[in-house]
Symmetry: C2
Subunit: 258 residues, 2 copies
């Protein structure tokens, strides 16, 4: 690349989360960085967007880096829309989201605000990557993965992410020296079995907390869950054309009214 | 079917919206209906779930039908999780969501609370359909599509929706006699160009409203947008495995650290 790339950075844990601070620091080594990130945590927001209320956006200064930062009242997808269409002067060369505090592998991609930001950018024709670390702790050691953040983003800038795709990158909770490498994977066939923790409030009214148990019945060695369980970083190319093309002919045989 | 099917009904416009009232009335003709729907509108919520706050759920009586109804404080996906795991005694035979006031065709499926409910049910192994009418009006005439709601759901119960799929059904804004029939389609390659309407509040602070223009550059006659524009009902089988399997081999060639 002849000139420095323009990099849009966002996340779903909020602009002051340690995960995004590490990602910003890594991206500063690769290009000119503009951050447009939520002003508060937006985990499990899926691909929500804000259409029935207003959005606020303020320039902020959080650390000493060269990046320019905006804190936004919306969801991760709102931040990407605002960044691309209102804040940036030109299309960014890439959009990176994260590093999420916790896994977005397998079915978690569906609920992920981190990945919704990356997918939103890919819908707008911009190469995009969502990064997540399998450690929910606020004090997770993101430095262990910093060189991979740079390597993967650099490769995406050099090679170009296929149109209609965003990359879902998950890191195992390991020290850098124990990471075995990178695997390109498919989304594992895994799911959550919900357990609702029913409680009674001081006024005697019932309420619930959503909890659950993660079930992975996928035995394939080409899935993201397998890679992560075996010490590898997983990369899954994720698409926003949700059509199951293989099943169109089956449904065409049904007896519909005409 | 020897016995009446158990049908879980939800939506994203809220339990009192005319669209869900028509859907409930149609489903009462097919089976035993349990409604678990949001207590307030949840449009454009994507696949959000509630993990950092509590959920409330109350049995309510809204009209004279035989259905049993619960009004829930969460998102559409929360309602499905609560319905399946906490409220129903057995797995429902099908979950239907809608009828949404407005389109969920093409890229709108990504932002849709209506479809997130259907996809959530399909993740839990339950056949599921999201219904939407291309009319945003609260007073849209849902009776024009009632016989199709029954026909499509009946066919899904009889034939079984393929595992890993939910159906995304959109109705054109037409009188029943003008509907030309049903097309099984792929998701059109269309998108929104955002326009942020920037305003100033009474305190002099800037804020934004998200608006946009819908762009369809897809010329194929097999897309949902084509079907709807030509007087047909569109049905797209939607999957929650987001992997773009075709691009895995391409990304495997990148020069990653190892």
């Amino acid at each position: 690349m002849s000139k420095r790339p323009l990099i849009l950075v966002t996340n779903d844990d909020g602009i002051s989360a340690p995960g995004i601070r590490t990602l910003i620091s890594a991206m500063n080594e690769l290009g000119d960085v503009i951050v447009v990130a939520p002003d508060s945590p937006q985990s499990a927001m899926g691909h929500a967007i804000t259409i029935n209320s207003t959005l606020q956006c303020n320039q902020v200064k959080i650390d000493d880096g060269p990046q320019i930062e905006y804190s936004c009242s919306g969801t991760p997808a709102d931040c990407v829309k605002l960044g691309i269409n209102e804040i940036l002067d030109r299309k960014p060369d890439i959009c990176v989201s994260g590093v999420n505090h916790g896994s977005n592998s397998s079915i978690n991609v569906i609920y992920s605000g981190t990945m919704s930001a990356a997918v939103e950018a890919s819908i707008e024709g911009i190469p995009a990557i969502g990064f997540s670390l399998l450690d929910y702790s606020w004090n997770a050691n993101f430095n262990e993965i910093k060189k991979y953040l740079i390597n993967i983003t650099k490769q995406a800038l050099l090679n170009g992410i296929p149109k209609g795709n965003a990359l879902n990158v998950n890191f195992p909770k390991l020290k850098e020296k124990d990471i075995k490498g990178i695997k390109i994977c498919r989304q594992a066939n895994a799911y959550w079995v919900e357990k609702f923790d029913k409680r009674v409030n001081p006024q005697g009214k019932e309420y619930y907390w959503l909890t659950g148990e993660f079930i992975n019945k996928d035995n394939g060695h080409d899935s993201d869950e397998w890679a992560l369980a075996n010490g590898f970083i997983s990369i899954v190319p994720v698409k926003f054309d949700l059509t199951d093309h293989e099943n169109i002919s089956y449904i065409k045989k049904w007896k519909f009214l005409n």
